[in-house]
């Protein structure tokens, strides 16, 4: 550790760059050479870079842990290079590509690389048969790289690079089996939905740049008091009763824009719709990206910029309410899903809502702690589901049916390791006492009830009252959270029983099974109609590469809670993260409450949920659920169809865009093609119709016109032309007249225009003279050409009075001594514009 610290001083930790770079190297080698390297080399490359990155992250984490003493936050910083310079008009902002590590992202890095490594290990066997094996590992490594850039980034733009990178990898991996149209469109859906969030992030960046003049964390924190300035977001409309428009603080705008980005990436209402569809990707991808790491990036960002978020109580209220609503909403959908990955997906959305509920009420540590524990148990659940699917593939070679709960049951006999690990992760997510989920959920719920953001912005504003949270917020949020906990326990138990208990239903394949959306009638009836019995191999346990990660994750799901077990007076995680959230926590107000009742409620919630599910699905074999579905088929169908949110979006937003496209087509067809193109074409053809009468096709006719033209040119040369060129210098008063040349031209001048020529015809082509201001002179010029013809021209030259109206009085004073005549004769006035220099002016021709 000493050696590490001396090798990498805290202000220049090149190790961070290495951690980030390693997965990129792996992605490059696997992606470019993977096809030739073969599976073994790809596996070695993919696993080793992540493993080494994990070890290096561990080293950094230990360094950090050693340096962080008490209240003082430790930071490891690596400054790369200056990326670009922004000139905002007020200041020049140099954007540096740099990484920094503190307690928050140090912990996150451990999770990303650690869970990432386990999932890489798992993918070794899970993806073994896939022809795109090398591609998969390249994408996975690239994802780890992007995720590390995201969490290590020392400023918003660097974070944004990683943010977009993980979005890209998510897209690539959701559509990994791109030959299926459903997979490809799921990837596009994820990508496009995330664009909406990215828009918010970009807006937030602009606003932060405008307000704080900085985009890196420390700069934003140092200048954050400017975020309290008001900003008008609605015009002054007196007749609407808004004489001053609507003013909000910049912090509110920034917070809302940031949260839009977080909601997109972390699948919160109303942008959650992409995450369930993202399950079209391979199961390790669902575990790594869409459960453990990427989708928690939004929570990470809220934690990272917690000091900005707490400046607007309204934004925090929005975060908490959206989180709670998402948690409840997604949990209801999970009730009626039969695809095990879909159940887990909605569970993920629900748990992410939990995290936002936590950070929204100011419980950043609790929310982030849930990120960590969720990463363990949800990854374990997904990988367990993958193991189940892997086993089911032995019987059913169909992606949809092998994931359907109704074809499973009793698998604990065939998949003992998977069952045990799944059971552990289940215990964690339903909140079985003393598991990790129990502690993290409990902490969130307790804080949801007792904490809120200070109503008087006494921290920063100096007494000015900001927007105030409604009185009952804490109670309502707590109630929703508790209800969600009951529901989570219920549907997870349903999932567990559906997969592992009872008899194996996969012997008979369910007939006429289709996507529930398109189904008419109640599928539970069809459930009972046995299809033809399928003989075949039995489901089997997965190889060690798959169950070892499961075991590790299961163990972590069980014990990780003891990092922050308030019940047992363990506050290690709180203390570890305390310096990071020190600024933000000052804005959070706590009510002192007794913890015991909440503990009772939490255990009760777990017991009720699990108990009811056990009674319904194990004791009564699902009869009550069937009865309920038959009792209110419309409601059941609505829930099973995910409240038809996708259809609603299809009709409104996508329909609106389609309408716009149709209108654009109309404009293109009738306005652009109709008027612009056809009108032009009409005039062109009209001109052509007229002009083609001159095109007789006979050479002599053309030659005749040529002769006429020749005659015209000859006539021009036959006549003399008394053209001239004048150079003028209005300030200096010098003028010259130059007669234009011609074939054997001779000239004579009459400079004073008295009617007498100054001389005979000669070769004098130029006259020069000086004029006083406002003086006019007439000159005559006569030209004679070779044929003896002459042409005469009278030339009038006038020198204007100098225009001194806009001149500097001081400069005019300087002009005075040169005499009453005005501007100096030779040379330019001090204030003379540049354009007054001698410039040629072309004389006319007859």
């Amino acid at each position: 550790m000493q050696a590490l610290t001396s090798l990498f001083p805290p202000n220049d930790v090149t190790l961070l760059a290495f951690i980030v770079l390693l997965p990129l190297v792996g992605a490059f080698i696997n992606g470019v050479f993977g096809k030739r390297l073969g599976r073994e080399a790809v596996t070695l490359m993919g696993l080793s870079v992540i493993g080494v990155a994990f070890l290096m992250s561990l080293g950094c984490f230990l360094m950090l842990h050693e340096q962080q003493t008490g209240e003082q936050a430790a930071r490891l910083v690596w400054k790369g290079w200056d990326w670009f310079t922004l000139d905002t008009g007020f200041s020049r902002v140099v954007l540096t590509v740099g990484f920094s590590l503190d307690a928050l992202n140090g912990t996150m890095a451990l999770v990303v690389t650690g869970v990432g490594f386990l999932i890489h290990l798992y993918s070794w066997k899970y993806m073994e048969e896939d022809p795109g094996y090398y591609r998969f590992f390249a994408y996975l490594n690239l994802f780890i790289f992007s995720m590390l850039v995201l969490i290590f980034g020392d400023s918003l733009p660097v974070l944004f690079v990683g943010w977009e990178g993980v979005g890209l990898c998510s897209y690539l991996l959701i559509g990994f089996w791109f030959d299926g149209e459903q997979n490809a469109s799921a990837g596009m859906k994820a990508f496009i939905t995330n664009r909406i969030g990215d828009f918010g992030l970009l807006v937030a960046m602009g606003l932060l740049l405008l307000s704080t003049g900085s985009l890196d964390w420390s700069g934003i924190e140092a200048n954050r008091q400017h975020l309290l300035d008001g900003m008008q977001i609605f015009p002054n409309l007196g007749w609407l009763g808004l004489p001053n428009g609507i003013m909000v603080s910049r912090a509110t705008l920034v917070g809302l824009a940031l949260f839009l980005g977080c909601a997109g990436k972390s699948a919160q209402l109303p942008l959650y719709v992409w995450l369930p569809d993202a399950m079209a990707g391979p199961t390790p991808v669902s575990a790594l990206i869409h459960a453990a790491t990427m989708v928690t990036a939004g929570v990470y960002l809220v934690c990272r910029l917690s000091f900005v978020f707490v400046m607007s109580p309204f934004v925090m209220f929005v975060v908490a309410v959206i989180g709670a609503a998402t948690a409840l909403f997604a949990a209801t959908i999970a009730f009626a899903q039969t695809d095990i990955k879909k159940v887990l997906a909605y569970s993920t959305v629900s748990q992410l809502g939990y995290m936002f509920l936590g950070v929204g009420v100011g419980a950043f540590t609790a929310g982030f702690f849930h990120v960590i524990t969720h990463a363990f148990f949800k990854a374990c659940l997904f990988l367990g589901a993958g193991s189940v699917i892997h086993a089911m593939h032995a019987r059913i070679h169909d992606n949809d049916q092998s994931q359907d709960m109704r074809n499973m049951g009793g698998l604990r006999r065939y998949l003992p390791y998977t069952f045990v690990t799944f059971l552990a992760a289940w215990a964690a997510i339903v909140g079985f006492p003393l598991t990790s989920g129990f502690f993290s959920k409990d902490a969130i719920l307790l804080e949801a009830f007792s904490s809120h953001i200070a109503t008087e912005g006494r921290v920063i504003t100096g007494g000015e009252t900001l927007w105030e949270w409604p009185q009952a917020t804490g109670t309502v949020l707590y109630a929703i959270g508790l209800l969600t906990a009951v529901m989570t326990a219920f549907y997870m138990t349903r999932l567990l029983i559906g997969i592992f208990y009872g008899d194996f239903r996969g012997w008979k394949i369910v007939q006429k099974w289709k996507e529930p959306k398109h189904e008419h009638g109640d599928h539970h009836h069809e459930h009972e109609e046995p299809g033809p019995s399928m003989k075949g191999p039995e489901p089997h346990e997965s190889p060690w590469q798959m169950w070892v990660p499961l075991a590790i994750l299961a163990a972590l799901s069980l014990v990780a809670g003891f990092l922050n077990a308030h019940l047992l007076q363990i506050h290690w995680f709180d203390e570890w993260l305390e310096p990071v959230f020190k600024t933000a926590r000052t804005a959070v107000e706590h009510k002192e409450v007794a913890e015991a009742p909440f503990l009772v409620f939490a255990v009760t919630a777990f017991a009720v949920g699990v108990g009811v599910a056990y009674w319904v699905y194990q004791v009564k074999k699902g009869e009550p659920a069937r009865a309920f579905a038959e009792g209110s088929p419309g409601f059941y169908k609505l829930v099973r169809d995910k409240w038809r949110v996708d259809e609603f979006y299809e009709e409104t937003f996508i329909g609106g865009v389609d309408l716009l496209a149709v209108m654009a087509v109309w404009v293109d067809k009738w306005i652009v093609d109709g008027i612009v193109a056809r009108l032009t074409a009409f005039f062109t053809s009209l001109a052509g119709t007229v002009l083609r009468y001159t095109q007789t096709g006979r050479v002599q006719a053309y030659a005749f016109t040529m002769v006429l033209g020749m005659g015209g040119v000859g006539w021009f040369f036959f006549l003399p032309h008394a053209a001239y060129r004048r150079t003028r210098d209005d300030l200096g008063g010098k003028y010259t007249l130059t007669a234009m040349p011609g074939a054997s031209y001779q000239y004579r001048w009459d400079e004073n225009a008295d009617g007498k020529w100054d001389g005979g015809f000669g070769n004098k082509t130029q006259v020069a003279f000086n004029l006083d201001p406002d003086q006019t002179k007439k000159v005559r010029l006569q030209v004679r050409n070779a044929f003896g013809l002459t042409a005469t021209r009278d030339i009038v030259v006038h020198r204007p009075k100098p225009d001194l109206s806009g001149a500097d009085p001081e400069a005019l004073k300087l002009l005075e001594p040169t005499g009453a005549k005005g501007a100096p004769r030779n040379g330019q006035a001090p204030n003379a514009p540049k354009g007054a220099a001698p410039a040629p002016a072309r004389g006319g021709q007859p």
Partner: protein, 206 residues
């Protein structure tokens, strides 16, 4: 100028003018060609009078030797068709008549003006003995005018190739009937754009 020189000048001028008239006025193209030959010889003689021996030689070699022979060759190739007048009234006679008349009038005016403007003609100055000799012209041609000279060779090659390409007979390449041609390849299937949906491709393209 000696009497012989004067007689030579008058002779050559008359020869070239008569040849020119013959060229323009003959009904038979072969007589026109002969008239052109006579003109060329006359002008070559005038070149000699102007002490341009090299140009005179070139004139005879290129014009009389190549161009006129080419004309005669083509006239012979066409045979009686070379002067065959198609049935029906000649087209565009008004333009021809007007063009000829206008040209004559303009030329008359121009000649009058040119001759009238210089009442005292200036005689030719005495020149060096090798004025217009092969040596002098050749030196000029291969030093100062080398680039245009080389470009002229390129022009001649292009002209030869172009003449071959234009005059070559295309007997075997008869265009096929429209129906025998294969349908053009259709690159896209289905309506590409909503506004194309109402306008399907023609049947033979589908």
């Amino acid at each position: 100028m000696t009497l012989v020189g004067n007689i030579f000048f008058v002779l050559m001028a008359a020869v070239s003018l008569l040849g020119a008239i013959g060229t323009v006025a003959s009904r038979n193209p072969i007589r026109s060609a002969v008239g052109l030959l006579v003109t060329i010889i006359g002008i070559a003689g005038l070149f000699l009078e102007l002490k341009a021996e090299f140009m005179a030689a070139i004139q005879l070699i290129v014009y009389a030797g190549a161009v006129v022979v080419l004309f005669v060759f083509v006239v012979m190739l066409l045979g009686p068709d070379a002067s065959k007048v198609p049935e029906g009234p000649p087209k565009g006679w008004a333009a021809r008549a007007l063009g000829g008349a206008a040209m004559a009038v303009f030329a008359g005016i121009a000649s009058y003006l040119v001759l009238d403007s210089r009442p005292a003609p200036v005689p030719f100055p005495v020149v060096h003995a090798d004025h217009g000799s092969v040596e002098l012209v050749g030196r000029e041609l291969f030093t100062k005018q080398l680039v245009p000279f080389e470009l002229t060779t390129a022009l001649l090659i292009v002209a030869v190739i172009g003449a071959i390409a234009v005059a070559r007979a295309h007997v075997e390449k008869k265009t096929k009937a429209r129906d025998e041609r294969p349908a053009p390849q259709r690159f896209f299937v289905g309506p590409l754009h909503p506004r194309d949906a109402g306008h399907p491709l023609p049947k033979e393209h589908a």
